[in-house]
């Protein structure tokens, strides 16, 4: 079973996590349909170093991990601020 080493919660088995997919930023208001579709459907499918969301159930905590989707190695725990963005509000 894959093991994820995390500086915050220690060494954890994969079975404690839920995979949340790659980090993507949605288009904001008045986006073209093509941009919307690209965000909704397209993915970085080729082997690469990918930033992904992983949810750790026992601590109820989301992590952003940088993982090589070919070797399955986790290279880095990314601080969430690095992927955060503001949303427009009324």
């Amino acid at each position: 079973m894959k093991v994820i080493d995390c500086p915050v919660i220690g060494t954890r088995p994969l079975s404690e996590f839920v995979y949340g997919g790659e980090v993507r930023r949605p288009p904001m208001d008045a986006a073209e349909l093509s941009a919307v579709a690209d965000h909704a459907f397209n993915r970085s499918g080729a082997p690469t170093l990918l930033r992904e969301w992983w949810f750790h159930r026992p601590t109820s905590r989301w992590f952003v991990l940088e993982r090589d989707t070919l070797s399955d190695r986790i290279e880095r725990v990314v601080p969430p601020e690095e992927v955060a963005y503001a949303i427009p509000t009324l």
């Binding site: 088995p13 404690e16 159930r57």
Partner: protein, 160 residues
């Protein structure tokens, strides 16, 4: 083989303190305040665990009422708390939990999956030969049944 016993329903008052100011509230109430996330300090027969940003789990023998002011918000919980004790507890837990609990020191805290459900584990210094386990009340009967089965098998093996 050592005896293994399961206390299936250890009575505690449990609450969750959420939001800024939580450490101050704990301190004002004379409760211990763990400084590192995912650690806990003993508090009488119970404990206080630092579970996240400003979040604390408070497990006390007697109900504890924080000040009404918010934040922090205080949420009463009904965690099912069990205690597995006896020299073989860590070995027995290997059937249910992928973590090496021998590595969990006295006073150690761990939020982990046990028998496939989320639970917290605490090695209370007053119970050196055992482990406290807490889980969501809806999983209480299930976790109790799993631990009971482990204890039963342990006893049967011990007889053989």
């Amino acid at each position: 083989m050592n005896d293994l016993t399961l206390e299936a329903d250890v009575r505690f008052a449990v609450c969750e303190l959420v939001g800024s100011g939580a450490p101050d509230v704990l301190r004002d109430a004379g409760l211990p305040v763990p400084e590192t996330e995912q650690t806990a300090l003993p508090c009488g027969a119970g404990l206080v665990a630092f579970t996240g940003r400003n979040d604390y789990l408070v497990v006390t023998a007697d109900p504890w009422t924080p000040p009404a002011a918010t934040p922090p918000w205080c949420l009463t919980r009904s965690d099912r708390v069990l205690c597995l004790s006896g020299g073989g507890w860590a070995h027995a837990m290997r059937q249910l939990c992928p973590h090496d609990l021998r590595q969990l020191p006295e006073g150690g805290w761990l939020a982990a999956a046990v028998a496939g459900v989320t639970a917290w584990l605490y090695r209370h210094p007053d119970r050196p030969d055992g482990i406290l386990l807490g889980c969501d009340p809806s999983y209480g009967a299930y976790l109790d049944a799993m631990l009971t089965a482990v204890v039963r098998d342990h006893d049967r093996l011990a007889e053989d």
